[in-house]
């Protein structure tokens, strides 16, 4: 695939590459670009660096906005050709260019970040120079933010691959030059990964590779442009869950052998005050309606996919009154594992499977919201850790289902 490149300072080598993937971010991209520049000058002044925008040929002037943002660090603009869209394509271009530049560290930032400070560059980059090969972020997040992460991505990737990465689909992360070469050599650049499954593909590839990983505390909350929340969550759900299920097929030899999980090193604790994240509103009525309607409209799929004991329990849950609604995590784990099996065996077309799973995801999310209503952030984190342990304890259910056909 042709890559469009604009390298005004003719940079051919950089110890550190800060990559900012984008599509139509002309109004927003200058901010993270300039914060990255400040961070590089403040914390890595002794290292060569470049800031790289990997774009999907945005028609709104993103290229001009990026190249026009005043920085002392050189900049490179890369783009896919017209009509090629997807964050995965952007990240692939970034990875290949980082390898060409002989980068020792690559830091990735989302283009619409509003809360980034120069210190984020340090926190994502420094662990790499201390022998970590993959750095995932740790944010302060509101308890209702990140339902796909809290209820599926974190517990499932942890149970499968044995590594505790709290934000496996965080938009900001770092990796070493060596890890970049591993990513570049992969044969797994399929449609799901090239579109928007790239974040979870990268984090789970790092988990499987046995490299040293770090979780770096960003200190502040992650604030970014809020797009349509309901539609955004649905799209994230499809991309992330579809990619995780897809990768399970290719890596069953690995995750079959994983028992329980190990903690991951932390960087950046004790670095100043922790800010309170902005509140997140939840429409509990909408969640209930999606679950209630979906359970009936997808009844045939659930009968076909869920093991009888799991299906029976789901019907019990579906019969609970709204005021007493609870979706136990063990049941949720069994549902996920049954759907993963169904995805592997194409019991239904993949897109239909993900559509069928969504009402149950909304039900689980509602249950989580109700359970944690009166809790603070730390108490909610304990609930999430307990959910993860339930996914791990339920793994024999997955093993039995998956490997017995």
């Amino acid at each position: 695939m042709q890559v469009i490149e604009d390298n005004p300072q003719e940079t051919t080598q950089a110890d550190i590459v800060v990559g900012i993937p984008s599509y139509n971010e002309a109004d927003r991209i200058a901010f993270p670009t300039q914060r990255a520049d400040e961070g590089l000058r403040q914390f890595f002044a002794d290292r060569s660096a470049v800031i790289l925008n990997c774009d999907n040929n945005s028609p709104d002037g993103t290229r001009e906005a990026f190249l026009g943002a005043p920085t002392q660090t050189p900049k490179i603009y890369l783009s896919t050709p017209d009509n090629i869209r997807g964050k995965g394509y952007n990240i692939r271009n970034l990875i290949r260019k980082a390898v060409d530049l002989s980068a020792k560290a690559v830091i990735v930032l989302d283009a619409d970040l509003k809360s980034i400070t120069p210190r984020w560059i340090r926190n994502l980059g420094e662990p790499i120079f201390e022998d970590s090969h993959y750095v995932a972020p740790l944010y302060v997040r509101h308890k209702y933010e990140g339902p796909v992460t809290n209820n599926i991505a974190y517990p499932l990737t942890r149970a499968l691959y044995g590594r505790r990465i709290r934000q496996p689909i965080g938009g900001e992360f770092g990796f070493s030059g060596e890890m970049a070469r591993k990513f570049a050599e992969t044969e797994e650049w399929d449609e799901a990964v090239l579109n928007f499954g790239i974040d979870v593909w990268m984090s789970t590839t790092a988990m499987r590779s046995g490299v040293e990983m770090t979780q770096s505390f960003m200190g502040g909350p992650r604030i970014h442009e809020i797009k349509d929340t309901a539609a955004g969550t649905a799209q994230i759900f499809r991309n992330v869950v579809g990619t995780i299920f897809q990768l399970m097929r290719g890596h069953e030899t690995f995750w079959r052998e994983v028992k329980w999980s190990k903690p991951t090193a932390i960087f950046g604790f004790g670095l100043g005050e922790i800010e309170v994240p902005p509140p997140v509103k939840v429409d509990a009525d909408a969640l209930w309606n999606e679950f209630d309607v979906g359970v009936r409209s997808q009844a045939d799929m659930y009968t076909a996919i869920l093991k009888p004991e799991c299906h029976e329990k789901l019907l019990e849950v579906a019969g609970l009154p709204r005021e007493a609604f609870e979706f136990p995590t063990v049941l949720w784990a069994q549902v996920i594992y049954d759907f993963a099996w169904a995805y592997k065996n194409q019991v239904f077309p993949h897109e239909d499977l993900l559509t069928g799973l969504m009402p149950l995801f909304y039900g689980k999310t509602l249950s989580f919201v109700l359970e944690t209503e009166a809790m603070n952030t730390h108490q909610v984190e304990e609930i999430i850790e307990e959910q993860c342990l339930q996914f791990e304890k339920t793994k024999p259910y997955l093993l039995e289902r998956w490997f017995s056909g």
Binding site: G210, K259, I266
Partner: protein
């Protein structure tokens, strides 16, 4: 037989845990403070450490970071009468955090899990 190192500055806790964990079939070594912890770990080569947090002269959270620098994969279970230390990010480096109780069922369960943990390639 797996060897468990129990680090706690209270004699009663060390005695109780020794008795209960030996009944489970473990070999138990105890330590009353964090002094020379790394030397003891090197000498005894435990399979798992149960580590108190609030000790007179040492913080279990700081000791945990020291252990992790030398023994990244050694299971460490933080054990405290206080759940409040969970808010300290340093505690994330532990395999598990168990609040002290007269019923050791949860501690025994976490020790069992920690000893069974297996990640290919590590």
């Amino acid at each position: 037989m797996a060897k468990i190192l129990v680090v706690d500055d209270e004699e009663g806790i060390r005695m109780l845990y020794s008795m209960e964990l030996e009944d489970e079939g473990y070999e138990v070594v105890t330590l009353s403070d964090g002094k020379d912890l790394l030397k003891i770990v090197k000498r005894e080569a435990p399979d798992c450490i149960v580590l108190d947090i609030k000790m007179k002269e040492y913080s279990g959270l700081d000791l945990l970071q020291e252990i992790r620098k030398k023994h990244y994969d050694l299971p460490v279970i933080l054990n405290s009468a206080y759940s409040s230390f969970k808010v300290d990010l340093k505690s994330v480096a532990a395999d598990y955090y168990v609040v002290k109780s007269s019923d050791l069922a949860e501690l025994k369960d976490r020790i069992k899990i920690a000893l069974e943990t297996r990640i290919p390639g590590k």
